[in-house]
Symmetry: C2
Subunit: 551 residues, 2 copies
């Protein structure tokens, strides 16, 4: 224990960001906002989408699982490492906050252990956590959407008129349909973020945000009726039993560290544990945003977009609007794009160049191409469309290809497709009365691809600021850890105290904007046709593909 931290009363918080491939542990100084140390722990099994680790069983298409022991390793190895690197006394840590991908869900026994960690269930793929990008529940989502539309379910408007296969009920009902044994053995079927908090603190709580955004719950209206679920799936009559019915708001305290966990981490038992949060949403306060009109983008494997607003506007094409969902006291709106970094990694893996660092090489070559000069337009639906179509059965497209098309032009077209997809989402907000005046971005692609950020500015006509931190989600989690520990009077004070520096601001280029307006006009019509009026084309291709792989 360091005497100096004792005497100065230094207050620090640990923020843990559980991503798709790894977990990141940050130690944040709650007074200076300084990032003292970071530990990164990759998941051993990463994304399990080919075969089950235990049995080698080949997974069906569109499956994506994770291993809870990989998550625990982030905590057990990462927290001591980060605290050690920070050079502070463990007693300086006053809080822990965490964020997780969502909707990543797992079946858990009454003892709080994930079913897949038990001998009994380990060899059964249905017992494993389904990662957010597990898309095999699309038929369930389709059915739930169909019945909700038929019945005119009032809650549907909160989700832009369509629910996603990535969400809670499609995954739960998929389990109920596929394997009643696992379903029945699960005492709870919970968001991973809540399970981590449960494991850290022993508090079996559900956060209200994921319940709102992913499990169709609202503080005013509760859950969809049992009638609705049984109309869609006769016999499925206990929709809330495994989720729970009581929810705690984000920004509150779940409890303190369990003694056994505190001991293994070398931290005081008094450390406050914040209610679980989601990787995207914690970035909003972490980026210093607490006002309407700012559009927050987390640009990484995928993009999550968030807007807060004092009023509830039921607009189509968003992934959700939840009161207190992102920031207490405001309505949080969420939208996003599924395949971003994923799609670029696919491109680099598919169109291999000779460059040692192909991303940098393509970024450089693509930056030298003028707007519109590729003659190409792409739809970034490499892993389906999240907003504004919420359809995992869509797929990507490139049009305008010719004998002259170069790899760099195709790469640029993919970056433009990210920017156009983003503009489509922004158009949707603005066409529904939510004016936006600035964009604030963070995430791996926001940091590493200035061209992507310039394209976002040039296509939307809005300034884009990128924060000078690679640890924005973990900063947000640490902020909530500090709030849970009582280090700030309220969230506003925490946001003001911990606002990060801006690394770079991208200003729209007028000439580029004019050219992109023309390309975007084509893009938007194509989007309507392939995504809506003739979506049976892409759906048909996927159906035939699935049948041929099965047969």
């Amino acid at each position: 224990m360091s005497a100096s931290s004792e005497t100065t009363g230094r207050r620090c918080s640990v923020g843990i960001d559980f991503g798709t491939e790894s977990g990141r542990v940050l130690v944040l100084d709650l007074d200076s906002g300084e990032e003292l140390a970071v530990a990164i722990v990759p998941y051993r099994s990463a994304v399990i989408d080919r075969e089950l680790p235990v049995t080698g069983e080949r997974l069906p298409h569109d499956w994506a699982l994770q291993d809870p022991d990989d998550w625990r390793e982030v905590i057990l190895r990462g927290v001591p490492e980060a605290v050690g690197k920070a050079g502070i006394a463990p007693s300086a840590i006053v809080g822990i906050g965490i964020d997780f991908t969502s909707c990543t869900v797992l079946p858990v026994g009454s003892d709080g252990e994930p079913l897949c960690c038990s001998e009994r269930w380990r060899a059964n793929r249905n017992a494993w956590p389904k990662l957010w990008k597990h898309h095999a529940a699309q038929p369930v989502a389709d059915r739930l959407n169909e019945v909700a539309l038929e019945r005119g379910e009032p809650w549907l408007a909160r989700y832009g008129g369509r629910i996603s296969s990535e969400w809670y009920y499609p995954k739960l009902i998929e389990l109920w349909l596929d394997d009643r044994d696992v379903y029945d053995a699960a005492d709870a079927y919970v968001e991973a973020t809540d399970w981590i908090v449960w494991w850290l603190s022993g508090a079996r709580l559900r956060n209200a945000s994921t319940a709102g955004f992913k499990a169709l719950w609202s503080p005013d209206e509760g859950f969809p009726s049992v009638d609705y679920f049984t109309a869609a799936y006769p016999g499925f009559d206990a929709p809330t039993e495994k989720l729970g019915t009581e929810f705690v708001p984000i920004g509150t305290r779940a409890g303190t560290l369990r003694p056994s966990v505190a001991k293994r981490l070398g931290l005081p038992e008094s450390v406050a544990v914040a209610v679980g949060n989601v990787d995207a949403w914690v970035t909003v306060p972490a980026l210093g945003v607490d006002e309407a009109g700012a559009y927050v983008m987390v640009v990484g494997t995928s993009i999550c977009d968030m807007v807060v607003h004092p009023k509830e506007i039921r607009l189509p094409g968003i992934t959700g609007v939840v009161r207190d969902g992102v920031l207490p006291g405001l309505y949080g709106y969420e939208a996003g794009q599924v395949a971003v970094g994923d799609m670029l990694a696919w491109f680099v893996g598919t169109v291999a160049g000779d460059a040692e660092d192909p991303f940098t090489a393509y970024e450089g070559a693509a930056a030298r191409i003028a707007p519109g000069a590729t003659g190409l337009v792409a739809l970034d639906w490499w892993n389906g469309n999240r907003a504004i179509l919420a359809d995992a059965d869509l797929s990507g497209a490139i049009l305008g290809l010719g004998l002259h098309s170069s790899p760099s032009e195709i790469y640029r077209a993919l970056l433009e497709s990210i920017a156009f997809g983003n503009r489509r989402i922004i158009d949707n907000f603005e066409e529904n009365g939510m004016a936006l005046h600035r964009i604030v971005a963070c995430g791996g692609i926001a940091e590493k691809s200035p061209l992507t950020m310039q394209l976002v500015a040039d296509t939307t006509g809005l300034k884009v600021s990128v924060a000078a931190s690679s640890e924005i989600p973990a900063r947000g989690s640490a902020l909530f850890g500090g709030l849970a520990a009582g280090a700030f009077t309220d969230l506003g004070a925490a946001v003001a105290a911990l606002k990060p520096e801006i690394a770079r601001t991208y200003t729209p280029d007028d000439a580029a904007k004019r050219t992109y307006d023309r390309v975007y006009a084509i893009y938007r019509e194509l989007y309507e046709v392939l995504g809506r009026s003739r979506s049976e084309w892409l759906h048909g291709l996927k159906r035939i593909r699935t049948e041929q792989h099965a047969g």
Copy 2:
């Protein structure tokens, strides 16, 4: 001179096939049908589409030129080489026939020399031959189509309702618009095939086939009226002046070798020279086809499809129907696809693999993928669409892309796009009352890609036979050389005598056909939307690209 050929009376013919990248000279034994020797002479300047050789001037987009001296080198180097290799006496050669790409056209002075070969005009790009795939005259073609439609021009139906930018008048009017000096200096503006015959024999003749297929002429109706041309381009009032007004049918004799040429080639002056022909059309008799119901495909850089029929049926979407155009006494119908081998070369050049022979590697990997299993569908419009849309401003597309899409899957999708494009053309013939019962194919891709041929069979449900010769066009030219020399009583006798062996027959697989019927149903709708009802999307992308490159 070899005594044996004298005494045995051996009769041989030289066939010269002028392709896009090289010329091929074949010596054919007219009695046995045996291919005695082949000489291949690549063009030094190949396709001139980046810069003019003399000045280094950068060529505008969509330009494609050739150098007539490259063609002469094929004759001067290739003929002696082939005759030498054949081990026959030069006196055994009784005829020469040639075929050329079309519509490849050049301005020629009154002395018969190409303008671009003179000091005066060499540095002027407008004086050079425009290769068939020069597509810069698309605006002229658009204007000609528009005015023809407005005026209800009766000849338009012979060309499927639309003329192509590749043809004679778009290229001639482009020259007239761009450079009146070159236009006026040209005593003739002729098909390269006619110019070669002119150079070989001194006979300034025009063949009736290219006049019919490419220059809007018909033996019954002559040319479009001067009124039509002046309505489209006021001042352009002498449309036939540089083309000529008298045409000789294919299958006839132009004359004999000029003494100076005979001397340089080491051949007798008595060698008969056949009227010029076109690379695609000579394959029909060369493949042993002289009946309706057979569909001939020449599958190489592009695909040319030909059908002969006793009646004239005016069907949309073909590139032309010309009486006596392919075989004397029958109506010849032509259709085709622009980018085939070109598109595959683009793919291999863009998606570079590690394989030493990437074509073979991709062919093997793609062949192991089941029909429909890629989830992809592509439109093969990498260089526009020839049939059934005749629109050079269309461009290629791939739909159905996902994070799982592999290079081999994309490669297979491109092969399937060739097969679907072909089925679309066959559907068009059949929907207009021309039943087809077999396919006969030749060309580089037909020989080297069994998968492409199997896909053609599986998508159409027709048997596909591939001839056991790599020299089908040159065989056809040699056949016409023999006919010009009087070695056969008529064309039917020549076809029967020189019918080649079949190397392989591809039989449709019923299960594959059923799956491809489903993918094709999607393809055909997409084709209608991108190619017709919403063609402004691809047109707009090309327009923006062209402007951005110009600006």
